[in-house]
Amino acid sequence: MTAQDTSSAAGALRGNLVIGAVTVAVGAVVIPYGASMPFIREGIPGPGLFPMMIGGLLVLFGALLALTSVLAARRERRHRDALAAAHAGEESVPAADAAAPAEGAAPEPAVISSVIDTDVGSDGPRRWVNGAILMGGIVFFVLFAEILGFPLTMALLVTAIVWSLRARWWVAVLTGAATSLALWAMFEQVLMVQLPDGILRGF
């Protein structure tokens, strides 16, 4: 029942409004695109019918989401006011008690027992660097797999990702090499899926 509580509710409201707006926008783009598709016969839509229907529902759902979010926020505020008024009648009930259910609904806390894991999270801009390494790495794979071959490209990609998550460098290199070789053997030799050979062709 604090300022923080209210601000997170406001944040959720803002989030829902953004989702609603984006949804309506997508729907608004899809409908004319669907309408521009050819008709089976005069007056009978074919390919465009489903996109138009989906677009219409997107607009509807997006608008409804925004509307209900606003209404729910208002109702919640009224409800809270009422609750506060009820509490005000009896001073002995501490406000903390009423806050408890909200806590219970918070995201499930970590199970502390038998944790065997290392934390891979980071602080500051490093997080976004890690994200960029992941996405950039996959793009790198797509661009270079045909040239460098699967084993090399995949090894580089995996090494980069593991290393970016603060593993020791030899762990990263080892993981990269082992993963790419194991997958190569599995797909190419056992499952008969052709992976790009690249410069390794002919070996």
Partner: protein, 537 residues
């Protein structure tokens, strides 16, 4: 019938057959645990080998393999949050949540036992009900298929607890994605932006790997320190007892799920995927376990989470039994009329024909030994799944012992290979990346992901059957409502759509009132409390 079974038994007890069953079982488990490698692909890979086998071992290989693969698809879904098959996608969230709560072995164990029971029920359906059910399924035309698929879509409403509107948005996103590619009526390219590769549409496996797997990696690497969820140890050893206890508790769920799987699987073209989604929705909607949360304090929160876990286990038992039951009953139309029930049985028909066995009435009249051998194989395959599956679950727990950073690298590598293998091209890898980002954003906005997959899988079925129906009758829409089977399906659809928001609204309303009463009971201010909360629009 007894002598038929004896003849069949000698066919099945052959050492070659037993060896083939074992090898195909292990092969199926390995393939199924790799995301992106589907049962269909595994069956296609097996076909060349079956050329050199006798008919019974050849059929045995495909049947065993498919039963194993469908279960094994749950393993990456529970451990890595990457559904191995579209039917596992229905309960991926639940299985993964259980793993995070340290109950991964329980979740997988329940899924395994439910799969086995479902498979056995499906086999029984196949053996005893197939002539009747087959005849029933043959009366289905595009109208009925349309409604069955719509019934599947309503699962989205139930899957997206919390915000049905966001679930609706997610479903629409999935449906929109399913329209990419050449359209069914005129072959007109939609949303392809001149890219010929997109003519084939968005592959749902690539979408699944991206939405669930890659988005999870993306969230992990961009997490703040201390924010990334530690994964508790999964001990496979002691899981068997609680598994069977949980299975016993949910026996009704498994029975319903198996029943749904048995019926829906027998409809040609509907198959195990739709069966799993429908069973999931039914189980969720009719759950009697009260979601906790009314009680207060840390203990109450823990209780609430335990209740939620029980609900998850319940849902898994319903859906996992349904997809394996569906796999078995998909053979009903295959054997009775030679119509494939799904893609795997389509391949099996090819194998049968090559082996000189014509599916259809002849099989029931003249080749009863083979037919009964096939029945027996289903039972053997499902029983074999139990020990092999537990072995796999025990072994799979080690995935979680791998350091997190290494695990992330592994998931990315496996995801890329899986996406690449779908069509031996890079388009699917690119799609996977796009869906990874989409999944990441959706999670941030609290939009559920499962309905997106549902939309992608069922969208084409809904659209095709709708368009076929209206073309057939020149837009006589009354046909959708006047056919008797359609009418039954429509009632089910309406019930499914109405149930979730209604119970949700009543629940919220009563919870709020109770809270208010509790607060107000102690104080005189309660009497002039506020108006009852207005109904939701």
């Amino acid at each position: 019938m007894i002598e038929n079974f004896q003849g069949a038994l000698t066919l099945v007890a052959d050492p070659t057959t037993i060896l083939v069953v074992l090898l195909a079982g292990v092969f199926g488990l390995v393939i199924g645990s790799l995301p992106g490698m589907t049962a269909t692909l595994a069956a296609a890979l097996l076909v060349p080998f079956t050329f050199f086998l006798e008919p019974v071992p050849a059929i045995a290989a495909i049947i065993t393999m498919s039963a194993m693969t469908i279960f094994a698809g749950d393993i990456p879904s529970a451990l890595l949050r990457i559904p191995g098959t579209p039917s596992s996608a229905a309960y991926t969230e639940d299985a993964f949540a259980l793993t995070r709560r340290g109950k991964g072995a329980l979740g997988l164990g329940v899924s395994l036992v439910a799969s086995v029971i479902g498979g056995l029920v499906g086999s029984v359906v196949l053996i005893f009900v197939s002539p009747v059910l087959g005849e029933f399924a043959l009366r289905f035309t595009s109208y009925e298929y349309f409604w069955v698929a719509v019934l599947g879509l309503t699962a989205a409403v139930i899957v997206s607890r919390g915000s049905q509107l966001k679930g609706g948005i997610a479903l629409m996103a999935g449906l929109l994605i399913s329209t990419v590619g050449l359209d069914v009526t005129l072959g007109h390219p939609r949303f392809t932006f001149g890219e010929e590769q997109l003519y084939r549409g968005v592959d749902f496996i690539a979408a699944m790997i991206g939405l669930f797997g890659l988005s999870e990696v993306l969230r992990a690497v961009t997490a703040r320190k201390g924010e990334s969820m530690p994964i508790p140890r999964v001990d496979g050893a002691g899981a068997i007892r609680p598994t069977f206890r949980a299975v016993w508790r949910n026996r009704g769920r498994i029975a319903t799920g198996s029943g749904i799987g048995g019926v829906v699987g027998a409809l040609p073209g509907a198959g195990a995927d739709i069966a799993a989604w429908i069973a999931y929705a039914v189980t969720r909607a009719t759950s009697r376990i009260r979601p906790g949360g009314a009680s207060t304090g840390a203990e109450g929160a823990e209780e609430a989470r335990d209740a939620e876990d029980d609900r998850r286990v319940e849902a898994i038992s319903g859906a996992a039994s349904a997809n394996n039951a569906g796999i078995a009953s998909a053979y009903v139309p295959t054997l009775a009329f030679g119509i494939p029930g799904d893609t795997i049985t389509a391949i099996l028909i090819g194998v049968l024909l090559v082996k000189g066995i014509t599916p259809g009435p002849d099989l029931f009249l003249y080749q009863t030994d083979t037919l009964y051998a096939l029945y027996l194989l289903f039972i053997v395959a499902n029983l074999l799944l139990l020990p092999l599956g537990f072995l796999l679950i025990r072994a799979s727990g080690f995935v979680l012992r791998i350091p997190r950073s290494v695990l992330m690298g592994l998931i990315v590598a496996i995801s890329i290979c899986g996406a690449f293998a779908i069509n031996n091209g890079y388009l699917e890898v690119g799609l996977m990346v796009a869906f990874g980002i989409l999944g990441y954003l959706f999670e941030k906005g609290g939009i559920p992901l499962a309905p997106v997959v549902l939309g992608i899988v069922l969208g084409p079925i809904v659209e095709r059957n709708f368009m076929q129906s209206v073309i057939k009758t020149n837009w006589d829409l009354t046909q959708f409502f006047t056919r008797p089977i359609s009418a039954v399906l429509i009632v089910l659809v309406v019930l499914a759509i109405a149930s979730a928001p209604l119970t949700g609204w009543l629940g919220r309303r009563s919870a709020r009132a109770a809270e208010l009463r509790a607060a107000g009971a102690g104080g005189p201010g309660a009497a002039d409390g506020p108006d009852a909360p207005g109904p939701l629009p």
